[in-house]
């Protein structure tokens, strides 16, 4: 039985022993979603959007869909993956199951809790009905799959006029309790008018076993709200991630999504921004630093539908060994979206001959009074710059690292949480195999 058949046939059992009332609206949504998935199946390389990323090597695994055994995990085991020199709310999931013991949630000024409780409690019915699966639906078959099996994830509900003082960390761990596991976390983030929240998300495999994570996050940003969302992707070589993140923005809101891809077997990021009002600002920042046979595919979309909005996209990539990068950045400026400012930049460095980058900027502009620009570069390290640094006594390896650091610096500069910035800087240094005596 292949993975698709296994998933489809498991659905009924999942739904019947699930946490949901079968009469609920979510049940209807899920039933529809599994039908859509069954019709479409997994994407293949014939699909234009998946031309450079094949899921084939992943689909041959006999994934467990749920963890049957519980593995005991203590704070010690996960500590190093947290940004722990900062006060924060934490939502920690172990093999797809929420760990209240390790987490730090709140219902005081805002709700930072789990989706399973939001889906079942009458208190949150309105929120769920208004938002859940409203942007993710009918988007792609993998998101449909996630919707069908939605069980657990982060639920972040910020009322209006609330500045959430502490960042929220969402951590998904897999422990290797199953030899091959498929995890499908589902996050729902609703940020009310004038509110502000910072979120850090990470997926981490704690074992050598195989993990495939198919994650979906929906983010709703209301009038004048500000959201900063950071994704740290630095997983093991047996871990793959398909991340679909959808952002819907209302007028005058500012949403930034930062994606740091430093590891994992296959990582696919679908990041989509939808504008639902004027004077919106969207930021998409990403940096990929890959080696070995790692593969990272960044697919982004900004859909400008209203006038006077702006989007700023900056993605950088450093590819060593036989690693593969894909950048597909689509910007749509619809006819009504006059006075749009849309900027996109994608710069790549190939360190080794075996490394590959497939870059495809796509601008579809239907309005005539707009400012749009895009730039895409693919290059190697500047030999004359290396010689210059060496001639000042900086060894070649450090000189290379310094140049690469400098190359990625403008993406790292955009991190607004200092402790996170330090952490990312350290991760970059570690990935480049150097220890620099200063922070950039």
């Amino acid at each position: 039985m292949d993975l698709k058949e296994k998933l489809v046939s498991s659905f009924l059992a999942f739904e019947n022993k699930g946490i949901l009332d079968l009469d609920s609206s979510v049940h209807t949504i899920r039933t529809k979603a599994i039908q859509n998935f069954e019709t479409e199946g997994f994407p293949s390389k014939k699909d234009e959007e998946w031309k450079y990323t094949s899921l084939k090597p992943l689909l041959k695994h006999d994934f467990s869909l749920f963890s049957s055994k519980e593995k005991s995990i203590g704070f010690k085991d996960i500590e190093s993956y947290l940004i722990n020199d900062i006060e924060s709310y934490t939502l920690i999931f172990i093999d797809g199951v929420f760990s209240s013991f390790l987490s730090d949630t709140t219902h005081e000024d805002c709700d930072v809790c789990v989706l399973s409780s939001a889906l079942t409690r009458p208190k949150y019915k309105m929120v769920v009905d208004n938002y859940f699966n409203t942007i993710a639906k009918n988007n792609n078959s993998l998101s449909e799959l996630n919707t069908a099996f939605t069980k657990e994830g982060a639920f972040i509900n910020i009322p209006k006029n609330t500045i959430v003082a502490k960042p929220i960390q969402i951590l998904n761990f897999s422990t290797g309790s199953e030899s091959e596991i498929l995890l499908q976390p589902r996050n729902l983030v609703v940020v009310g008018e004038n509110s502000h929240v910072q979120i850090i998300e990470r997926h981490q495999n704690l074992s050598k076993n195989t993990t495939l994570t198919n994650s979906v996050t929906e983010i709703f940003v209301h009038k004048r709200a500000i959201v900063d969302y950071y994704k740290i992707q630095n997983d093991t070589e047996n871990s793959s991630l398909i991340d679909s993140t959808f952002v819907s923005q209302k007028q005058q809101s500012v949403a930034s999504v930062h994606t740091y891809s430093f590891g994992g077997k296959i990582t696919r990021n679908n990041l989509e921004f939808y504008h639902e009002g004027e004077h919106i600002t969207s930021h998409l920042n990403g940096i990929s630093i890959l080696n070995g046979k790692q593969h990272v595919d960044n697919h982004t979309l900004v859909n400008h539908k209203f006038p006077n909005c702006e989007s700023h996209e900056l993605y950088k990539g450093i590819y060593a060994d036989k690693s593969v990068g894909v950048f597909n950045g689509k910007v749509i400026v619809q006819q009504e979206a006059q006075k749009t400012n849309a900027f996109q930049q994608n710069n790549n460095i190939l360190i080794d001959d075996g490394a590959t980058i497939n870059a495809k900027p796509q601008l579809e502009i239907f309005a005539d009074d707009v400012k749009c620009s895009h730039g895409c570069t693919i290059g190697q390290l500047d030999e004359s710059a290396l010689f210059y640094m060496q001639s000042r006594g900086i060894p070649k390896k450090e000189a290379k690292a310094l140049l690469l650091f400098a190359f990625g610096n403008d993406v790292v500069e955009k991190i607004k949480i200092p402790q996170l910035k330090t952490r990312i800087t350290k991760l970059i240094a570690k990935n480049l195999g150097v220890n620099l005596g200063f922070e950039l």
Partner: protein, 245 residues
């Protein structure tokens, strides 16, 4: 200090240096002059260890040690400094961070501890003052958007920080107005001692009014065709290079 013996070097199988002999003793200032394409910049790059050039014959010896197998950074650690004709821009790395890294890597190579941050700062300020460099300049990205004069001044600032045994100044005067030239030359003169040596590579005699050489060599077609005292520079300025061919 430096002995260049019968040095032949080529790039892409094209021979540029065709048997150079040169000896520089501690405390001396030598100037190499010559027309475009005579091999001046190649000579400085070969001494500094640029990998694109292949040394086919001869040797470069610094304080008794053959530099042949040493990487550019190892030569720097032994005291070779090359001031570039066209310093490279490195966005995202400040002047201060760059020089800190250079100093500490050099100390590491010599088995010394890193220089404490306080001492580093003091040293940076002292040398910046010596070269009349504005403090604000130190937190800018290395050479990015610098004027020609700022780039050259920054080169000499790095030289002041690294305190090399042999400083090679490749066309340091190009792109400098007379005031900037004086500041740069003044800096070089202050750094000069009986322990170190300077090799000035230049097109024009102008710089040599301010950095006065003990010896002047004329490079032509990959060979030193004439050597003399500082008066040779004046003669070249008056007569050009044609009479030496």
């Amino acid at each position: 200090m430096l002995q260049v013996k019968n040095l032949h070097a080529s790039i892409n199988d094209k021979e540029i240096l065709k048997g150079i002999n040169l000896e520089i003793k501690a405390g001396e200032v030598h100037a190499i002059m010559g027309p475009n394409g005579s091999g001046k910049s190649t000579l400085s790059a070969v001494i500094a260890g640029k990998e694109e050039y292949e040394v086919t014959e001869g040797s470069v010896i610094l304080n008794g040690e053959d530099l042949a197998d040493l990487a550019p950074e190892e030569r720097a650690h032994k005291g070779v400094f090359l001031s570039f004709q066209y310093p490279v821009e490195i966005p995202g790395v400040t002047v201060t961070n760059f020089i800190k890294t250079a100093i500490n890597e050099t100390r590491k190579a010599k088995g010394q501890e890193e220089l404490p941050a306080k001492d580093m700062l003091k040293l940076i300020r002292e040398k910046a003052d010596l070269l009349e460099i504005d403090r604000k300049f130190l937190s800018r990205s290395l050479n990015e958007g610098f004027s020609g004069g700022e780039k050259k001044r920054n080169e000499i600032f790095q030289m002041a920080m690294l305190e090399p045994k042999l400083a090679i100044l490749d066309e340091t005067d190009s792109g400098l107005d007379i005031d900037a030239l004086k500041v740069v030359a003044n800096g070089v003169n202050k750094l000069k001692s009986s322990e170190n040596a300077v090799l000035v590579i230049t097109h024009y005699q102008r710089l040599l009014d301010y950095i006065v050489p003990d010896f002047v060599h004329v490079l032509y077609n990959g060979k030193i065709v004439k050597s003399g005292g500082k008066e040779l520079a004046l003669e070249l300025e008056a007569k050009g290079y044609d009479w030496l061919k």
